[in-house]
Subunit: 363 residues, 4 copies
């Protein structure tokens, strides 16, 4: 069941990059949620390679199809199966390089684990394309969370060493929509764009950091000790290819702080208990404390670059040079942010169902 | 089942800080593993508050007891139940402060989630004390891993902004044993000690970073896409109270790097395929690549400090001052490193069993 | 995850009777198993309504399609997705009778549970058609079991009170193939056929009993206490619509026996320990003992009959008469036997993987 | 995790017959349930060997102890750990017969599976004694079900071929309490007692059938397709040692019935939809239909008998005679009925939590 995630709201991923389709099954969605193919398509489109220089030239005009579980415009309570059919596939490059594992990719580990039987075309199951399924499931999760007024936003906060500055959620919400890099800081976005263009010229790629924020999360969500909010979120986020780190609130910065600085004092505001700072990122003891949940995700530079790289022919066990052509994103951070939103939404749906916040039938 | 972790090697945590006992059940351990109470005690002792200034003055002379699953000096294949009975308990402070949630602690979130029915004494289920159970389970996991020559080391790499420098694994292995801070850099350890003493004087606490390293891990371990090596490790590590971040290999540093820098080239060394750098931290596509696994964990400064703090009386909903006395660690990083070793070992045992690396009966 | 079954060899069912498709995902199948679409089709065809009077007139010329997880004629280790697309659908009867729950069917309970949002056409998720997915997954499971020489046979032992007599496995194996009722006793099969024809004339239906037998099962399979061989098999078998009872070995007959009769004596035969009788049905303490596993499954008479029945209009809450036309099996026992074989095979694959009997990569 | 059962209300069993203790952990119990040690003891006492001739002479004056999860007379939301410490142990017989597997027992299969490392004393993990843990967990489950007015009754309906007759639930409820055999039919109970005494004289044992009934179960409980009410109940019931069959409603009798007889017509009674018969045993499509749930469980005659039996010395692989002395129940049916009640209650709690029928905090 390593391709399934979640306890009460469970997604099961299937399909390969150059196979027939990329699919996802959502099991445990309450019946009666109004949803259309267009709702799912809209979310999927956000993940589409944009007009910005960061993206692949592969034309992923992905069209979401509902295969099961939605009837008369509503979820039925049965497993929902969503798919996008693969098109515009060119596997020639992959067939040629079958025994030349690409540095930074799963080619080698997959080869070892599956004895060479894996579908290596386009990275097979290890392609970023499988996240199309996550985003379709995320569309449903976000609809459910909307019912209980929980909003998930993910945005680019760093690319190639350029750090975005921003003030509040309204600013973030507005700017990321208008911005192909999903960055709340327009000035930083310009610099990031320049850095991406420069990397492209060099045949190189860039990494970055995404920040996910959840507003409207009530206090009391999360199941300690092992199914805590942070544990389950981190697990879900590490399923996104290229993620190398996850931190909550102050994150790694805590190593440089004292308890008196890092502890968030409890205060009363408008008759409600809140904390006057949010170093905890909205989580105490694995349970939400009612403050905005803040998580940051490190995304490595795209492993596929056109610069020549050193590898090994694993069939002949000889040194080899790799010159990848293919079509790749220079920096996947902006598109990954859409996936981050989905994974957070999916995880929170699971917790909301465990806490009984969402009814089994939506009327 | 939020108190259980693992699929084939499953631990179930129970017990409270000031209750009768702290316990752990290990289900799925192969039969025939030779193990004694002393083996478990030895591991548990590593977690004991040391002679260093960082630790609590609570005398946790914890004695491991085998309640089930070990017979004639071997595991039986049945669930193993291990416990430490609580002694030297002083709950007075907690009873007094029952309605004054301590900043940075789970008091408030637990109160909301469990409607005030939780055992609040000593933090109850949210105390670091529950990690005594993790360490006992870790003792068994480490024994199993030893059979297949996998070694797990965790050491302090940063405390209060002081960063340790070190060269190789032999150095780490040697130094951390001789050092109450489990730090591979003796010079840094001295500075950390001074920083801890200074924080103690101020009634404050310090955070830090732990690095976990796994040697001898064969390529091919890990179950993508959701049960990947990094996903499951991060989930397990976030169960340790005070952990705020987890990163693998280059971690958050990837945001400042190019693909050509971050990709680890494949080369042949002694007829074996290896990578010439290890920015991936031993994991590609969620599967081990045969290089040392490297994970770093951010540990926040102990939430309990003696400095006066602002809080709210949650019964009367009025502002309040908190002056914690109690007995606390100034910096839990060194002790948490022992728990990190355990959680890594436990997680790897699960993967080793899933991969069929450990037989069902050890003869 | 109520639509998923199994721990290491996991199937996930999706699709509805009159929706686009019936599908199944198999997660955890080792890589390298040679398998073709035809292998799956062959198994699926066994479930096809036959030329015998027992079957529906719905022409289920189901064509298995591989959507993911099989590449170059082998499993890849990735999730396998198999589907049959629905054709020859006539939902008119169902739309008309939407608020008239059919006695013996899940119409009413589904309506209550899913608030009327369920896909009621053709029984939706509650149709026997979903077992087409089980059988496709069973095709893969049976291929895997064949590698370790485990054979699963299920045959009709009773229909409409007529009991089959048979002597040994060779007889069963031969006869059930030649016989549209999958009955080892040709004489009984003739009487069953007559009884079915009589029931058909009366607009009625018949129930029966299926016996599943597993040959070649090694001793030591099964995971007590809750994941025992009998517990998991019974759980899997109750997923087949219309199953009302499951018994192992002597089954309910034990209520009339003494320990001295029911205990199977241990003896040595050909230098091997066996039992001289098999009242245990091959299971002791939830673990296989090396003898043939024997399980019997009670299958109720098809709930759909053309005889007039009493029901309630659940929208108007008034008494109503139900005259089902539709196209139904008079007795599903022979077709259910194919599904029984599949569910047993799927469950045993899971246990074989848990026991490490099947390698992770088949070479 | 084969020693854990349930998804949201999870029990984990540990301990051995002649080890230190028999224990159970209940994870997922809502906080705030008022419960005392005495509540648990009362339930445990029902399982105690009675004054009737059916029971063992081992004096199981089991005393329930709360080790964790209950505080100030209420559940805390944390895992509850309950234990009984083993006393009055005599392992001599078992040590002597270590290599002589008892027919009908798990001695042989356990030996094979665990390579001889299992705790064989008193049957170890395979002893009926582990059901003491089930009954303690059942005490909590029953308390929870009482909150939502669900009542579980299990009673003896057959022993040694003698069948009990009874009319309604009130009769059952009254009679089983007054009757050491938990039989609703006083006349049948007398005959059963005579049969048990006769079997005792012969050094033999008797099997029987238990009927479990659930009153007050609302329609809509159960999670199809694999986690259906019948599937999960059967799985839970097969965890009870000696169970060889489980059937719902008409059960195996369906093989002799026509659809027109077996279908339960829907009718309106007191403005409520009910069925005029209950052949379905309260379950349609794996979901409760609001009628009483009826399940029957076949319990084999106690495997331990004093009559001489044929076995094999598995160390020397030679034929051997077994003369068991020990202290055993002649017929475990009446005591098993208490365990049946517990397993049903535990399973229904899980479903009630999944359906959101029980709040997360009980106030």
């Amino acid at each position: 069941m390593s391709n399934s995630l979640g306890k009460l709201f469970t997604i099961t991923s299937f399909g390969e990059s150059h196979g027939k389709l990329i699919g996802i099954i959502i099991d445990g969605c309450p019946a009666g949620l109004p949803i259309t193919r267009q709702d799912i398509q809209k979310e999927l489109d956000k993940r589409k390679p944009g007009e910005n220089p960061a993206s692949t030239t592969r034309r992923e005009g992905d069209k979401a199809e509902v295969l099961a579980g939605i009837f008369n415009g509503h979820t039925t309570g049965a497993p929902i199966c969503l798919a996008v059919w693969n098109k515009d596939i060119d596997s020639a490059e992959y067939v040629k390089g079958r025994f030349l594992p690409r540095p930074g990719h799963a080619d080698y580990t997959s080869y070892i684990k599956y004895g060479g039987f894996g579908d290596y075309r386009g990275g097979g199951r290890f392609s970023g394309r499988i996240t199309a399924g996550f985003v379709m499931a995320g569309a449903i999760a976000r609809k459910l969370l909307k019912l209980i007024k929980i909003e998930v936003i993910a945005h680019t906060v760093e690319i190639g060493g350029i750090v975005a500055r921003y003030n509040d959620f309204n600013e973030i919400r507005q700017n990321i929509a208008s911005n192909p890099l999903r960055c709340a800081d327009a000035e930083a976005a310009r610099k990031m764009t320049a850095a991406i263009e420069e990397a492209k010229k060099q045949g190189d790629s860039l990494g970055g950091i995404i920040e996910g924020t959840v507003l409207g999360l009530p206090a009391g969500l999360g199941e300690p000790v092992f199914d805590s909010l942070d544990a389950e979120l981190s697990k879900a986020l590490f399923a996104i290819p290229a993620v190398k780190g996850v931190e909550f609130g102050s994150g790694f910065q805590v190593a440089r702080e004292k308890g008196s600085q890092n502890n968030d004092p409890f205060v009363i505001e408008n008759d409600k208990l809140v904390t006057s700072s949010n170093n905890a990122g909205g989580i105490l003891g694995g349970i939400s404390n009612g403050m905005p949940l803040v998580v940051r995700i490190a995304v490595k530079p795209t492993a596929s670059i056109t610069k020549s790289q050193q590898t090994v022919n694993i069939k002949e066990m000889t040194a080899a040079k790799l010159e990848t052509r293919g079509r790749h994103d220079i920096c996947i951070v902006p598109r990954a942010a859409v996936v981050v939103e989905s994974m957070i939404a999916i995880t929170l749906c699971d917790f909301a169902l465990r806490a009984g916040l969402i009814p089994k039938v939506i009327r």
